[in-house]
């Protein structure tokens, strides 16, 4: 499903030095598989996700999704790819302020279907995520866990084949983190969605099919005690 080949992102720093944010990462993720990437701040996790999402151009290497090189897409094609084939779960404060849970969740769907139809389609997913009673509540009145679930609903709303999750439990307590990770795993397995999850949270390891570590831009085996 997803294949990274010697993917690299280098930046030129002041003084002529080169910062290797991502340095030759190769990785394959199968449909329905959840891969967790661990790493300290500045290890290149988010840079890696941005390149997979075609939001950042790699310095070298390629990102293949179903054999297609994402890194060579035009601006319009990259937008289309994100809209239809990719789900991106980010930290919960990216929800639109003052807007209800259901309207936040249908943001991507609005590109293809009328809003009534979008509401009709998203409601079962939100029910499944435990937000059935909170559909019309504004984002700022939702708890952090609820907001994160709205984000998951938005990411899965267009039935993507690949889902990226950037610190999805970063602002949640352990109980809420478990709930969110469990839902993410369940839904992705059911739908055959490949998941790349980057996190600091040790809990995530327990829900992933594979766990890897990213250190100084390079992929390594995950050692929990490090």
């Amino acid at each position: 499903m997803l294949e990274l080949r010697e993917l690299a992102k280098h930046y030129a720093a002041i003084g002529g030095e080169t910062i290797r944010a991502v340095d030759g990462v190769s990785l394959s993720v199968a449909p329905g598989e959840m891969v967790a990437l661990y790493g300290p701040s500045g290890s290149g996790k988010t840079t890696l996700l941005l390149m997979i999402a075609a939001l950042l151009e790699p310095t070298a290497g390629s990102v293949l999704v179903d054999g297609r090189d994402i890194s060579s897409l035009s601006k319009t094609e990259a937008s289309r790819f994100r809209l239809t084939e990719l789900g991106f779960v980010r930290q919960s404060f990216d929800l639109l302020p003052g807007v209800s849970a259901i309207d936040n969740a249908v943001l991507k769907l609005l590109s293809t279907v009328r809003w009534r139809e979008a509401h009709r389609r998203i409601e079962p997913l939100l029910e499944r995520l435990g937000l059935g009673q909170r559909l019309e509540h504004r984002s700022e009145t939702l708890s952090m866990g609820e907001r994160q679930r709205v984000m998951i609903a938005r990411a899965l709303s267009t039935e993507p084949r690949l889902l990226l999750a950037d610190e999805p439990t970063g602002s949640l307590d352990s109980q809420r983190s478990r709930e969110v990770l469990e839902l993410l795993r369940e839904l992705c397995r059911e739908r055959g969605v490949a998941v790349v999850l980057v996190s600091h949270d040790p809990l995530a390891a327990g829900y992933a099919d594979r766990v890897l570590a990213l250190r100084d831009g390079r992929l390594q085996d995950y050692e929990p005690d490090r």
Binding site: L55, R80, F81, R82, F93, L96, S100, D103, L107, W115
Partner: protein
């Protein structure tokens, strides 16, 4: 994205920014309203004259017209009708008159015509029969005029014209169905013979309207010129409209300037309000782009925001502007009504609606699309980056641009005052371009002074203002523009008023009492009357030392309706000394007394390429040669003035009629006593009004003030709008900052310190903006003074205007700060715990 989805997204997002959106609506609506109202005011003036002219002339293309109120013999009509190529020719008598009814009096144009005028198809006479009541001796009036005078069909009303008083019955009231928009025109219609009888001109007319056969216009014009023999005017039938356009140009230009400034203030208010939601919009842009929406889709989302805001705010603005034009700008400048038949109709053209609405929508577009850079960036994550403050290079570039603009405006003032519009535009640009530097300078100064103060207040204030620099500069710019508009326009207005008062003083300095035909149409003392009998009656009064004949009139000279002032040769002072711009009073007086010399307004002389000492032919009823004795201002009459002595006037006009008697009183007799004595001697039905020189000067001053009243009203509205705009923007900014205030509280700041911080921020922001505006306004005042004096040739008593500028600065800054202390007071009551919440 589908339109219904865009609308849905707009609707669900609106809840979160209803207050800011409301502020933006208020701002745009205020700008649109002022722009629209001032356009209606200008259009209505010009259109009322154009409508009345079209209503009379119908399909006529040419006209043969008299050069003064005496007209020409009506037997000329037969000659015109016999000219080859003339399809139709209709006689007209147009006389200025004062109509008096039971409820009041109105200045009207008494129009005498016969049935041939109906054949031209003008709206005024198309449905008003001019023959059936000819034998009855009656007039017809538009319904509103009859109502104002309090007269109904069959009742009589009085007409004062040229010192003659007559009574006439009202035959018919003309409604909107008969005369359309002309219903608000100040016109009384009568059969030609009866109008001649009412005005006492005998068998004379003032115009012949001519409709040539197709393709014969040029030939007919040549024939008419031959017939006119240089003593009558041959012009196209819209000549009156062109003359009026020239006369009203100064008023319209100044109204346009005000409208532009008010639109700018309105836009800045909207922009300030939109800045409050920029963070939200940038986040939305980032969100949409990360989720895969294309730039086009994001632009569509924002365009819908702009369209809804622009259309709604423009609609509100148009409604407000319409109301404003009825309530505030309805009055007609009286000085124009003394020379043109200006109606009270309110003309709303589609052009005015379009300009105002498009302005409103453009303002919304500019305000909403301010984060355009984020959308157009190739990097979809651009909108997530913190908005960077302008770098040192940008500041330097802006500063250099500002200095260059300032230099252009100073050069304009010193070397090319006629290019004042360019100077004002450059000055405005300079002020705005230099504002970021001024703001940075003020912050630097506070930081330099802060170490001497044992308080964190100045540090926090500077820190806060730096973090929201874009918004702070936008607020300061609002204050700067409003103060610029207020100081420059009110200053120039004051100087102009002072100059006009000087002119009014000079025009009345050579007599104690004026005796002239009564009626508000005769404000410039231009109506001729026969002196027989009356002169002797006044001369023999006990309190009278001497009576002299004053003459004056309006003369169509090129494209200008010029005011000709002809004081008696013996008058002292003979020339308006304060109004001379070239030549000395002593020389000019000597030349005028000698005869054959004229003082010309500078603009008029320039237009006819005349210099002092040069000879020219005045196109008066009996064209006469004069030499230029000196150059003057326009003596308060926008199209220009000519001063000659009364004897020369009689020669050039071929008439011994007077326009007024100048009465000099015997020693020890006061002006009040003199007025009463003359009034008693003339009796109530003389048709002449007796007025002391002091009262006439005062009336002229009031007239000047009335003519400039609209400018004062708009200036006040701009200032009020600006104070509210700044206060609203500052208030919203303070209110939105509550989480930051909570954090400061958590750090141990007391509410008192926080309030002091807010006040200091407000003072810095408004102080910098308003001071920049006031300084630029002082220079702007000089530019406007120059423009008024050089282009329109108005009498301007130039001043520095420092006192008024300081007063405006203090009032606006104090008022705005007072208003922002209210939200400031409540904002600092925010619980410190808020800082710990999400």
């Amino acid at each position: 994205m589908r339109l219904s989805n865009l609308a849905h997204l707009y609707r669900v997002r609106l809840r979160a920014r209803l207050f800011q959106e409301g502020l933006a609506v208020v701002g745009i609506a205020a700008g649109v309203a002022l722009l629209f109202a001032s356009q209606i005011a200008s259009d209505s003036l010009s259109s009322s004259v154009a409508q009345l002219n079209a209503g009379i002339v119908g399909s006529a293309q040419l006209q043969l017209s008299a050069r003064d109120a005496h007209g020409f013999p009506d037997r000329l009509l037969g000659q015109v009708r016999r000219l080859p190529g003339v399809r139709l020719a209709a006689p007209l008598l147009e006389v200025n008159a004062n109509a008096i009814g039971p409820k009041g009096s109105e200045s009207v144009e008494l129009v005498g015509a016969d049935s041939s005028l109906s054949a031209l198809g003008g709206a005024l006479v198309r449905r008003a029969a001019l023959t059936p009541f000819a034998g009855l001796g009656a007039v017809v009036l538009p319904v509103p005029l009859a109502k104002t005078l309090g007269v109904r069909e069959g009742q009589t009303l009085t007409f004062q014209t040229g010192g003659k008083v007559s009574e006439a019955a009202l035959f018919q009231q003309l409604g909107a169905r008969q005369i359309g928009p002309l219903i608000d025109s100040p016109v009384a219609l009568a059969p030609l013979e009866y109008a001649q009888e009412l005005s006492g001109v005998g068998a004379r007319i003032t115009r012949v309207l001519v409709a040539p056969e197709a393709g014969r216009t040029r030939a007919v014009r040549s024939e008419l010129l031959r017939l006119a023999a240089g003593r009558l005017n041959v012009e196209s039938s819209d000549y009156e409209v062109r003359l009026f356009a020239k006369a009203a140009a100064a008023t319209n230009q100044s109204t346009t300037l005000f409208a532009a400034i008010s639109a700018l203030v309105g836009f800045l208010l909207a922009f300030n309000a939109m800045l409050l939601t920029v963070a939200q919009r940038r986040r939305l842009i980032a969100d949409l782009r990360r989720e895969g929406y294309s730039s086009r889709a994001v632009i569509a989302v924002l365009l819908l925001d702009a369209a809804v805001l622009g259309v709604f705010a423009s609609a509100v603005g148009l409604a407000l502007g319409d109301e404003l034009s009825v309530l505030l700008f309805r009055s007609t400048p009286g000085y124009l009504a003394s020379a043109f038949a200006v109606g009270s109709q309110r003309v709303v053209s589609w052009q005015s609606v379009s300009v105002a609405a498009v302005g409103g929508i453009l303002a919304a577009l500019l305000a909403v699309l301010s984060p355009l850079r984020d959308i157009l960036s190739r990097d979809p994550l651009a909108a997530t980056a913190p908005s960077s403050a302008s770098g040192a290079r940008t500041s330097a570039l802006l500063g250099a641009g500002g200095v260059a603009c300032l230099a252009v405006s100073v050069v304009t003032l010193l070397a090319a005052p006629r290019a004042a519009a360019l100077g004002v535009a450059c000055l405005l640009a300079a002020m705005l371009l230099l504002l970021p530097l001024s703001f940075a300078g003020a912050l630097w100064l506070v930081r330099r002074l802060a170490p001497g103060v044992t308080s964190a207040v100045p540090h926090v204030a500077v820190m806060e203002l730096r973090s929201g620099r874009g918004r702070a500069i936008a607020i300061a710019a609002t204050g700067a523009i409003a103060m610029f508009g207020s100081v420059s326009i009110q200053g120039a207005h004051g100087d102009l008023l002072h100059g006009l008062e000087n002119a009014a003083h000079d025009e009345n300095a050579f007599t104690d009492i004026w005796v002239a035909p009564a009626g508000s149409y005769n404000l410039l003392t231009t109506a001729p009357f026969a002196t027989r009998g009356v002169l002797q009656k006044i001369e023999h009064l006990q309190g009278v030392r001497a009576v002299r004949i004053y003459r004056g009139g309006l003369l169509d000279y090129g494209e200008r309706r010029v005011w000709v002032i002809a004081p008696p040769r013996e008058a002292t002072p003979l020339v308006p000394a304060s109004q001379l711009v070239q030549g000395t009073p002593a020389t000019a007086t000597g030349r005028l007394r000698e005869g054959g010399w004229a003082i010309l307004s500078e603009a008029l002389a320039r237009e006819h390429h005349l210099r002092v000492g040069q000879a020219f032919t005045l196109p008066s009823p009996s064209p006469s040669s004069f030499r230029v004795a000196a150059l003057s201002t326009n003596i308060g009459w926008a199209p220009g003035a000519i001063v000659i002595n009364a004897s020369d006037y009689a020669r050039a006009w071929g008439s011994e009629d007077a326009s007024a008697f100048n009465v000099l009183l015997a020693p020890g007799v006061s002006q009040r006593e003199g007025v009463e004595e003359i009034r008693r001697a003339l009796g109530p039905s003389s048709g002449l009004a007796v007025q002391s020189a002091e009262a006439r000067a005062s009336q002229q001053r009031a007239l000047s003030r009335q003519g400039l009243a609209r400018l004062t009203q708009i200036a006040t509205l701009i200032l009020t709008a600006a104070v509210l705009a700044m206060a609203a923007a500052m208030g919203a900014m303070v209110w939105q900052r509550r989480p930051r205030l909570a954090k400061l509280k958590l750090e141990g700041f007391s509410p008192r310190e926080l309030r002091a911080t807010i006040i200091l921020e407000g003072t810095l922001l408004l102080g910098v903006g308003c001071a920049a505006g006031a300084l630029a306004g002082l220079l702007g005042q000089q530019l406007l003074d120059s423009a008024l004096a050089q282009i329109v040739n108005y009498p301007v008593a130039r001043s520095l205007g420092l006192g008024a500028a300081l007063a405006s600065l203090a009032i606006v800054t104090a008022a705005s700060i007072a208003v922002i202390t209210v939200p400031g007071w409540f904002a600092v009551e925010v619980p410190a715990g808020l800082a710990l919440q999400d």
